[in-house]
């Protein structure tokens, strides 16, 4: 039976090459996209699962509650928390703090200097919680020795080459001596925790002179491992109030997130995290697969006029309907399996490109049983969905029909509906892509309140202010350098906030308002070309000017002041006056709005130097900047960044995803067009006789053309209307996630309609021109 099935299918396949090719290509494209997306989803969901105890690991985070009812969730927690949790909560077996090395460190190895940014400071429990593989040495006791350093394999290789470096010495910032006690594997691609090397906390305390007993400063990630069988919700209850035990009037409640969710889910309600993309593209995968299945259904049913004879004969000689359903399902499965073969090759070819697009390193791993089963499910589903309608339809032919000739079973309507759905989905995808692109372009060029172009900045370690003064003096002399300033953070990602702000008219009921706080040098406002709308900027004329504040418009309105200039402000107990108000500028992604901001001059906090340079001959200017740097700081390599690059980085995820979306939209469109083409050629075949007949009796082709076109356009209009509605509502919902958004314009809708009509027109044209080439005699012979 299988053999004869194969025979029928294979012969049908070679006899109707175009039909088969369209079918297989459509399915292969659909399956390829689905597999690519599944591989990616598999990767995203595999994050951190390689830790043996991942089910017991949690990340502790703070829910900060503000007066306006906002809850702001952050992973930053106070330093003593980890130790306290471990001591006070019996279910918590281990706890560690993790913090980055705060800027770059200079590592000296046997006389060579390396600038490193990827160091992490951790507690000894780090090694008990996480299961990064050990390559050399021992991690059980290593951080009991405050001079231990643990290297990643990459760094070990870079410093010492291909040998076991345990016991070797490195010197950090020419002062702190460490002995290598272990080498760990490089953090994997799917690890949320990354590290180049790990240092113990003694270093952190000494280096930054940081008070590790302070409950009020939030700086560290805290990870805990629960004992086996510990109840997660009990622990959540127990930890919730811990901060308020140590901090008066605290607005913070603690909670914890399963480490397995750390990568995918955001702890802030309202922002979705990568899971959003995972779900979105899962839907896209299903849509594309459906479009491909519809294609198959469509073509298979269109072909049914031929198949009906076969079906009827089989029934005459004894086939039951059930057997025939099996036959057609078998056939669609067979097509799907051929398509899968092509898909595997395509996936293999496209995976690197696809990986680049989403900035992931993806691999097709045949040993991955999850992927294997997913593939089988995709094939079965595709085969069964594709074969369902044709099987139901074709097996319904009664044998009597071959004897009597065929009354036209009307599958035409179903087929038209299938094409309409295909086009609806494709057009909706097309419009969505267009709107996503418009929104991104809008974000990139919208007025952010300052001039982000032509700014380069450098991070300065060591004795900042001493170096900074020297550098500034040199740099400002370079022609093409317009402004030089310093700050604790660049206005691309402000992350330093406080609610400890008081002013004279502050109402009790106003409660806590979260203010962003920025520490800047003279000329900051000038360098970034921000707009002062009231008062003045910081200036040397007024000495150090450290107890004066500049606020932004949002802050002014939150403080509810008519004229804020001269008003008193107390921050962290420091009293000062407001001297200026700047127009709101965006210091975060435009996805979020502008928070109230206070700017003050505080040289102790400076970390970055920002330089505004001229538009022309920038490489020359930057080269001169480099030369001065090398003269003053010869031991530290010069590295710089452009502010506009950072800005683009905000939208990287969106930008990648929209490219991806575009690609899949194109695919969907192509499959739909294949479907339309296939359908058209069957109509041609069926209409050939009719047209021949008409020609015999003198009809002209224009009339036939108009007739067909009218029919097609009617259905296309249907598809467009459905797609417009769908795209409109989905995109409104998406845009509402942005603080700054475009309003949906009619343009992209019109373009989509024109494109669809063009495709329909071309298809009909193709159909008609092939019909008009037929000599009537040829057709009438075969009645």
């Amino acid at each position: 039976m299988i053999k004869i099935l194969l025979h029928t299918v294979l012969r049908g396949l070679s006899r109707q090459k175009v039909y088969s090719l369209i079918n297989i290509l459509g399915l292969a494209t659909g399956v390829t996209c689905t597999l690519l997306i599944l591989i990616w989803i598999e990767f995203e969901t595999s994050y951190d699962t390689f830790h043996q105890d991942v089910k017991q690991i949690y990340s502790v985070y703070e829910n900060q509650k503000y007066a306006d009812g906002d809850i702001f969730s952050v992973y930053s927690t106070p330093s003593p928390l980890a130790e306290t949790l471990k001591k006070d909560i019996p279910e918590i077996e281990n706890a560690t703090r993790i913090v980055s090395s705060w800027g770059q460190l200079t590592v000296n190895v046997g006389g060579r200097n390396f600038i490193e940014k990827g160091g992490k400071i951790v507690d000894a429990d780090f090694f008990k919680i996480f299961s990064f593989e050990k390559i050399y040495g021992d991690t059980t006791n290593c951080f009991l020795n405050p001079n231990s350093i643990v290297l990643s394999q990459k760094i070990a290789n870079k410093y010492f080459g291909d040998i076991n470096p345990v016991g070797k010495t490195v010197v950090i910032n020419s002062k702190y001596k460490f002995e290598v006690s272990a080498v760990l594997e490089n953090a994997r691609e799917n690890s949320s925790i990354t590290y180049d090397f790990l240092l113990p906390f003694n270093f952190f305390q000494e280096f930054w002179d940081y008070d590790l007993k302070d409950w009020e400063a939030n700086t560290f990630h805290t990870f805990v491992k629960l004992r086996k069988n510990a109840n997660r919700n009990d622990v959540r209850k127990k930890i919730s109030k811990i901060i308020s035990k140590h901090v008066l009037n605290s607005n913070v409640e603690l909670d914890m997130q399963a480490f397995g969710d750390y990568h995918l889910y955001s702890i802030n309600k309202g922002s979705a995290g990568p899971i959003w993309y995972v779900r979105l593209f899962f839907i896209v995968a299903i849509v594309i697969l459906l479009i491909a299945c519809f294609n198959y259904m469509n073509l298979a049913t269109a072909r049914s006029e031929r198949r009906s004879k076969e079906v009827a004969i089989r029934k005459v000689v004894g086939a039951q309907r059930r057997g025939l359903v099996g036959l057609f399902l078998g056939e669609s499965l067979f097509f799907t399996i051929i398509a899968l073969g092509i898909s595997i090759v395509l996936v293999e070819l496209l995976l690197p490109e696809f990986g680049d697009m989403i900035n992931r390193h993806l691999e097709l791993n045949p040993g991955n049983y999850k992927f294997f089963f997913a593939t089988i499910i995709v094939v079965l589903l595709t085969g069964i969905v594709s074969g369902s309608y044709p099987a139901a339809y074709l097996s319904s032919f009664a044998p009597i029909q071959i004897i009597r000739g065929f009354s036209r079973h009307d599958s035409a309507l179903v087929r038209k509906i299938l094409v309409v759905i295909q086009f609806t989905m494709s057009v909706a995808l097309f419009i969505s892509t267009g709107i996503i692109y418009q929104q991104l372009a809008f974000l990139k060029r919208s007025d952010i309140g300052y001039n982000k172009d032509n700014i380069v900045y450098v991070e300065l370690g060591g004795n900042f202010n001493n170096n900074y003064e020297q550098l500034k003096n040199e740099w400002i002399k370079i022609p093409g350098v317009n402004w030089v300033t310093a700050a604790n953070q660049m206005p691309v990602n402000f992350a330093n906030s406080t609610w400890d702000v008081n002013w004279s008219g502050k109402l009790k009921e106003a409660g806590d308002i979260l203010f962003q706080l920025s520490f800047v040098d003279f000329d900051f406002i000038e360098t970034f070309e921000m707009n002062v709308i009231q008062g003045r900027t910081f200036s040397k004329q007024y000495g150090a000017d450290t107890l004066q504040f500049i606020i932004n418009e949002s802050a002014a309105s939150k403080m509810n002041m008519e004229n804020s200039i001269g008003e008193k402000l107390t921050i962290w107990g420091k009293k000062g006056h407001i001297i200026g108000v700047v127009k709101d500028f965006n210091f975060n992604s435009l996805k979020v709005g502008v928070d109230p901001l206070i700017i003050m001059r505080n040289p102790a906090a400076f970390k970055y130097v920002g330089i505004r340079i001229g538009k022309d001959r920038q490489p020359v200017i930057i080269n001169k900047i480099r030369k001065s740097w090398n003269k003053i700081l010869p031991e530290i390599p010069f590295t710089y960044r452009r502010l506009s690059d950072d800005f683009d980085y905000f939208y990287q995820a969106e930008s990648r995803m929209s490219k991806l979306f575009l690609s899949f939209t194109l695919v969907a469109f192509i499959i739909s067009c294949l479907g339309l083409f296939g359908l058209a050629s069957f109509i041609t075949e069926r209409k050939a006789r009719e047209v021949a007949m008409r020609k015999v009796f003198g009809a002209n082709m224009d009339q036939v053309f108009h007739l067909l076109l009218k029919d097609f356009l009617k259905w296309m209009l249907f598809a467009i209307a459905a797609a417009w509605t769908m795209a409109y509502f989905v995109m409104e919902w998406w845009l509402n996630g942005f603080a700054y958004r475009i309003h949906i314009g009619i343009g992209i809708f019109l373009i989509s309609a024109m494109l669809t009509f063009l495709i329909a027109f071309l298809t009909i044209y193709k159909l008609i021109s092939s019909l008009s080439g037929i000599a009537p005699a040829n057709m009438l012979k075969y009645e």
Binding site: M1, I4, H7, T8, R11, G12, R15, K309, E310, A312, I313, R314, K315, V316, V317, G318, A319, Q320, R321, G323, A398, P399, I400, I402, I403, R404
Partner: protein, 227 residues
């Protein structure tokens, strides 16, 4: 073997109601060779299709081998058909995608006959129909006469006790027609019951009995002397 009792078939379309068969009573015995004749549109094919369980009567009874079958389900009818009845059509009705061999083999697949047995029986049938040399060809590569011989091979392969033939020579020239009729006569002599619709008096001459239909009625039953 076959007995009908006031068989009526009415076709209803939107506009008209056609009574194709009107109280048809007839009996066909085992081993008979019966020809059905009559003018075009008188209901010959309709009758044959009902006897062959391809179509349902509107009223009346149909007995097949002593069973009353007109109310059978699709499933039961298929089972009865595949074991007892072979069909030969005017337009051959072979499956284009299958070779001659596979076309003939098809009924055996549905009877779940083993592969070696199938091979043997198909080859025998093809030998017998004198087209064994064409076993690997596809239907379109054969002449009309050859195609009809393949169709007959397919009809007899399951060793049915009844063969229904609707104008089996209608698309053939006299030479090929003659050959087909010889095959049918031969099968009848071996014991197969044959019911054949035809317009050709010379073909009808081969039968034992001619049933004349007119406008859905049986007009005469003409017993013939067996030669």
């Amino acid at each position: 073997m076959i007995k009908t009792n006031n068989l009526v078939k009415v076709f209803r379309t939107d506009e008209v109601e056609t009574t194709a068969l009107n109280n048809v009573n007839l009996e066909i015995n085992n081993g008979e060779f019966v020809a059905i004749m009559g003018p075009s549109g008188c209901g010959k094919s309709t009758l044959l299709n009902i006897i062959g369980l391809l179509d349902n009567p509107s009223q009346g009874e149909l007995h097949f081998n002593g069973y009353q079958v007109e109310k059978y389900t699709e499933r039961q009818r298929t089972n009865l058909r595949k074991e007892n009845i072979g069909f030969v059509f005017q337009s051959f009705n072979l499956i284009d995608e299958l070779t001659v061999f596979e076309n003939v083999e098809l009924p055996l697949l549905y009877l779940k006959v083993s592969s070696s047995e199938r091979k043997k029986r198909v080859n025998e049938a093809l030998e017998r129909m004198n087209i064994a040399h064409r076993a690997k060809h596809f239907p379109q590569q054969l002449s009309g006469g050859q195609q009809q011989r393949v169709a007959i091979a397919r009809a007899v392969i399951s060793k049915p006790n009844l063969i229904l033939a609707d104008e089996p020579t209608g698309n053939l020239d006299s030479g090929n027609g003659e050959e087909v009729m010889n095959l049918l006569s031969q099968l009848n002599e071996e014991g197969t019951t044959i019911v054949m619709v035809t317009h050709s008096p010379s073909d009808a001459d081969r039968s034992h009995r001619i049933i004349q239909l007119f406008d859905g009625h049986v007009v005469t039953e003409n017993m013939r002397q067996k030669l």
